[in-house]
């Protein structure tokens, strides 16, 4: 469904991605893990059209989408929830959701979608007419996910959805992602909570310094790669 081939991205003079290739198949939940600064967010932003790749190809459903503007990418069916969530703070919850469904332009369907979101996130239903900046961190994360779902994406990209959330909410987010996946959504997930991520994903890519360092099924990755060393460094006494 989505295939990145040899993608290079530069941030000014910084080389953020050095030839990343990965693919996501229909109905899969693929995770990107790796230490901070490994290039996970950069990869998502590049797919979403916020960053332009310096080289390589991105094919989505058989068509090249590399370098398209963000407003075009979402129309192809790729929705992204940024790490910072980017809730429109002065707008109400309802208005945020309305913009989420902007590309659909169908009032009947909008009502049905809205009901579905309220079903999925009851708390948002209670706060529809409240300004979004009055929501708590966890509620804002739910709103960000709901807003992305409003566009009926074929591929949903989540960048660190558990970031900054209290432990109980972290569990909630993972359950939610697992549920969306179970309902058939194709998902590309970036997470730093490795243990939880490996429990729910189908396949995983490990990024290290802008490159794919390992990939495979979660259990294989655990067996063949010392994941802990990626995050906590090699043991000095082992050297």
């Amino acid at each position: 469904m989505l295939a990145l081939d040899n993608i290079h991205v530069n941030y000014g003079a910084i080389v953020a991605l050095r030839g990343v290739s990965l693919n996501v198949r229909e109905n899969e939940l693929v995770a990107l893990i790796g230490a901070n600064g490994a290039g996970k967010s950069t990869a998502l932003s590049t797919i979403a059209g916020v960053l332009k790749p310096a080289g390589g190809t991105i094919i989505f459903q058989g068509e090249s989408i590399a370098g398209l503007a963000p407003e075009k990418i979402i129309r192809r069916g790729i929705a992204m929830i940024p790490e910072t969530r980017e809730i429109f703070s002065g707008l109400t919850v309802m208005e945020n959701l309305l913009l989420g469904g902007y590309i659909r332009k169908d009032t009947v369907e909008f009502k049905r979608d809205l009901e579905r979101m309220i079903d999925l996130f009851p708390i948002l239903g209670e706060r529809l007419n409240q300004a979004a900046d009055t929501l708590s961190g966890g509620e804002q994360q739910q709103l960000a996910i709901a807003r992305a779902l409003m566009s009926h994406p074929k591929l949903l990209m989540l960048d660190e959805p558990s970031l900054g959330l209290a432990p109980t909410l972290v569990n909630h987010v993972f359950k939610l992602v697992a549920r969306l996946h179970a309902e058939g959504m194709t998902i590309l997930l970036v997470e730093q909570n490795v243990n939880q991520t490996l429990k729910i994903c189908d396949r995983v890519y490990l990024l290290k310094m802008g490159q794919v360092a390992a990939q495979g099924l979660p259990e294989n990755l655990r067996e063949h790669v010392d994941v802990e060393s990626v995050y906590l460094g090699d043991r000095i006494d082992a050297q």
Binding site: E71, E86, L91, G100, Y102, R147, S151
Partner: protein
């Protein structure tokens, strides 16, 4: 203060403030999204004025002329964005500001070259020269009209921004521009809409502005531009409501100065109001109404 003079004061403030509020609102709509203080804003009023003048020989009714001149202001605003601002959008705020200053000069001198340096009379409907007598006061009808039209427009824009998808998108874009694009709202649509509203408000203000002064010159845009500057700073540069409040507050200050200051001091009125601008930017950089 007698009831009569109070009423006079109120109507003066409201009618002047209405124009100021519309000016400021148009300024803030663009500023909120692009961080651009557009020096060419006053020139859209000039464009509307010359359109009226050029149409004055034609047989069309005044309302059509008015409509066409407002459209001309919208066109000028949209065109400027397309040709001059879009290519420098990615650059610094200062580069955009200088561009707008250059555009302003360009418009003014185009008017000098292609029309005339001399003042040209603008056609006005009869209703603008009529007055009504109310509670012992003679009130020009155009002042009442200005108040009504402004309130109607403000209501219209409040609805537009609150209820329509493009209005909501405009508010969202002023908050987080990239995210609006990631939801599929084209950047150029939002910015184009902002500049269209920018021009529309300038065009409407132009009708009443010329209603007060009767003629158009190439340099006519400066005074309303200054008004928009001050009102936005007073009200808060990032808040739409603030702009409207700022407009009325500025009118209140001006009308009060007119009534209170002696002739000697009145000459320095601009110096006073602009010192006030500096003071507000220093003491309360966000203006009276804070952005949410």
């Amino acid at each position: 203060m007698s009831f009569g003079s109070f009423l006079q004061f109120l109507i003066d403030t409201l009618s002047l403030g209405s124009l100021y509020a519309l000016m400021a609102l148009g300024m803030v709509i663009v500023y909120g999204i692009l961080r651009l203080v557009n020096f060419a804003y006053g020139e859209y009023i000039m464009v509307a004025g010359y359109t009226l003048f050029l149409l004055s020989q034609s047989p069309v009714p005044w309302l059509i002329m008015a409509l066409l001149s407002v459209l001309a202001a919208v066109g000028a605003s949209y065109l400027t964005e397309r040709v001059a601002f879009r290519p420098v959008r990615e650059q610094t705020v200062t580069a955009m500001l200088i561009t707008s200053f250059a555009v302003s000069t360009l418009y003014q001198n185009a008017a000098l070259l292609f029309i005339s340096p001399r003042a040209k009379l603008v056609p006005l409907p009869d209703i603008f020269s009529k007055s009504i007598v109310f509670a012992g006061l003679v009130v020009p009808l155009r002042n009442i009209l200005a108040i009504i039209v402004t309130f109607a427009l403000l209501g219209f824009f409040a609805l537009l921004l609150k209820r329509t998808i493009i209005g909501i998108a405009l508010r969202a874009a002023a908050d987080k521009f990239t995210m609006t694009r990631m939801l599929g709202i084209p950047a150029n649509l939002v910015i184009g809409a902002a500049f269209a509203i920018h021009g529309l408000l300038a065009g409407v203000v132009a009708l009443f502005w010329f209603g007060r002064i009767g003629s158009v010159t190439p340099g006519i845009g400066l005074a309303p531009l200054l008004v928009a500057f001050i009102a936005t700073v007073i009200g808060g540069m990032r808040s739409l409501l603030g702009a409207v409040v700022g407009g009325y507050v500025l009118a209140l200050i001006n009308v009060a100065f007119n009534n209170l200051l002696t002739q000697n001091f009145l000459e320095y009125r601009d110096a006073f109001t602009f010192s006030l601008v500096i003071l507000i930017l220093l003491l309360r950089p966000e203006g009276l109404v804070r952005a949410r």
